[in-house]
Structure formats: structure tokens, C-alpha cells
Amino acid sequence: METSMPAFLLSAIIWLPIVSLILNFVLAIFLIFLVQNGKLKPKEQQQIEAEMISVIKKADLAAIKIIEEATEKSQKIIADAEATKKVVAEKLDKLVDNTIDIAQNQLDVQKGAIVEKFREIYTTLIDQYKGESQALFGNLQQEARTQQEEFRKNIEEKSTEIFKELQEKALSDLNNTNKDISSYREKTLAKIDEQAKTIIKDYVAGYFTQEASKKEHENIVFKALESFKHKNTNS
């Protein structure tokens, strides 16, 4: 509102010299017209022209002065307006700042209250949660212990059972394997014996049927007879 008043005045001051100039110009035209129509005498005309020039000069000076004054005034008004504007701006800024500060303070207060409230609620919730959590945790812990114990027992029973089965199976397998090995060993040894017997018999038979002399045979028979005698004497 304070800025609109100097603008109105400034507009009026600017138009005033312009109007004055227009009036001076119309007056000069009128005087020229009179001179050209011969209604004035040369002396008078000169006087008039001199007056006219003087008037015009005066009007110019007045106009310039008016313009200068108006300019000064307008400048002053502008300066004042600017100063006012500055002051207003400063005041507005200050007001805004203050308002902001106040609002900020209020906001801070509210925020603090909210935070405090939140903290309170949060603390309550945390406490409640802690209590519930502890209870829940305790229950869970107990349940976990129970389950763990049951699991341990199950595992132990299962392990024992499995181990027993494995042990029995292993023993059974071992026995079977031992039997198989023993059977295989006996069979193999029997085969080896049989083969060895065959080889030895073949060799010995070859020797005694083809190479051994009757004298050698006789000596062996006598040894057999001696053996018989020895057995009969002892028995």
C-alpha cells in the first residue's frame, strides 16, 4: 500500500511539465499567427517576439526546473520508496524470520513433544515387547530344550538301533565272509593239494615206473616190512 501512493504522485508530476510545454507551444503558435496577419506592428512585434522568446525561455526554464524538481522528487520518492521498500522488506524478512522462528520453535516444541510421546510409546512398547519377548524367548527356550532333548533321545535311540543293525549286519557279513573265505580256502587248498598230489604222483610214478630199479623197489619194500615189524612190536 505504501508503494502504490508514490507511483500515483510520480505519474502526476511527470505529466505536469508536458502539459505546460503544450500550453506554451499553443501560445507561441497564436502569437505567430497574429504577427503574420499584420495585426501587430514591427516594434510591437519585436517586443512581442522578445516577450515570446522570454516567455518561451521562462517556460523552458520552468519546465526544466519543474522536470528537475519532479525528477528529484521522483528520485527522492523512489529513494524513499526503495528505503521504505527496504525497510518493509527487512521488516517483512524479520517478520518472516520471526514467524519462521516462532513456527520453528513451535514446531520444535511440537516435535519434541511428539518425539517425547513417541519415545514414551516406544519405551512402553519396547518394555512390553521385551517382557513379551523374554516370556516368549523363555517359552521358546524351554520348548527348544524339550525338543532338543527329544531330538537327542530320538537320535540316540535311532543311532543305537542303526548301529546295532549295522553291527549285526557287519557281524553277519563278516561271518558269511569268513565262511566264504574258509570254504574258498578249503576248496582252494583241496584243489592245490589235489594238483600237488597229482603232480607229485605223476612225477614219482614216472620215476618209480620208468627209472627206479627193482633193487630200489626191494629196498623200499624191506623198509615197509621193517616199519610193519616196528609197529607190531610197539603195539
Binding site: 593239494d193 618209480f208 627193482k214 623197489h217 626191494e218 623200499i220 619194500v221 610193519f228
Partner: protein
């Protein structure tokens, strides 16, 4: 035999069961001839017995003082021989080779010297026993053979 005929006996020249059987057969024919007045006992014996055996028997009778001309004395003597031969225990000896006769005599003499003086021997041959002998004596058979030794040793191994 020893008491009646001294140290000599029929077992000095009869070793095997085959010889024994042949001699028994000959003696039995000789004894049967006693009913033939024309034939002497010893003549009948000579017809059925092997010459060597006959000569050995004749020598034995001479050594023992038995009269070959007396039919009854000769028959008694032969009967006694018959009893001795028939009652003689037999050694069955299974061998892995065909022995010479000298070897048979050697085996028999050993047996008579060490086991029984009035025994006879029967030889069998079985090459499978390889060497040694299977001795069958008084219903007992003892395999003292190389085959048996090999089997036993291999089993014990």
C-alpha cells in the same frame, strides 16, 4: 616140523601160495596113489610136482630119515606136510613192481625170520602204490606205500 624133521622143513623151498597150491595138489595126487599097488608114492609125486620141488622134498625126506620106499611112511610124511602147508598163514604183499623170484624169497625169508616162520607169501602187483607195499596180515591191511605217504604228507601240510 622142527621136532620131527629137524632143522629142515618144507618152508625152506616153498615160499608162495602158488607153490604151496601146486605142492598140495601134487601131494594129494601122490597120497591117492597109495591105493595103486603098482605105483610108488614118490613116483606119483614126481609126476605132479615140479622137478625142483620134488627134488627138494626128496632131499628133505632123506635128511629126515624118511624112507621113500615105505609107502605108509611116505604117506604119513606127506600128510604131515599137507597139514603144515594148509595151516600156514599167508602174507599178502602188494607191490608196485613185478619182483624177481629171488626177491620173493628174500621177502618171505625176512617175514619168516621176523614175524612168522611158517608163513607163505602171496604177491600182488599194483603200480598205483608207486613204491613200498601193502601188507595184509591176519585180516589187517597196512598200506606202507609211497602213494599213502604222499597223501598223508600233503594232507598234513
Amino acid at each position: 616140523m622142527e621136532n620131527k624133521y629137524g632143522i629142515k622143513s618144507v618152508f625152506d623151498f616153498v615160499y608162495t601160495t602158488q607153490e604151496c597150491a601146486e605142492l598140495i595138489n601134487a601131494i594129494e595126487h601122490a597120497i591117492e596113489s597109495k591105493y595103486d599097488s603098482k605105483l610108488k608114492v614118490m613116483e606119483a609125486l614126481s609126476e605132479h610136482a615140479a622137478y625142483v620141488v620134488y627134488k627138494e622134498l626128496e632131499q628133505l625126506m632123506s635128511d629126515l630119515g624118511v624112507s621113500v620106499d615105505s609107502k605108509q611112511e611116505a604117506v604119513d610124511f606127506l600128510n604131515q606136510i599137507l597139514v603144515d602147508l594148509k595151516s600156514a598163514p599167508v602174507l599178502n604183499l602188494t607191490l608196485a613192481f613185478f619182483p624177481e623170484y629171488s626177491q620173493i624169497k628174500a621177502f618171505t625169508n625176512w617175514w619168516r625170520k621176523n614175524i612168522n616162520p611158517k608163513s607163505l607169501i602171496r604177491i600182488k602187483v599194483n603200480h598205483k602204490i608207486l613204491a613200498g607195499a601193502v601188507i595184509e596180515w591176519q585180516e589187517e591191511a597196512i598200506p606202507l606205500t609211497l602213494q599213502n605217504a604222499i597223501d598223508k604228507n600233503l594232507i598234513s601240510v
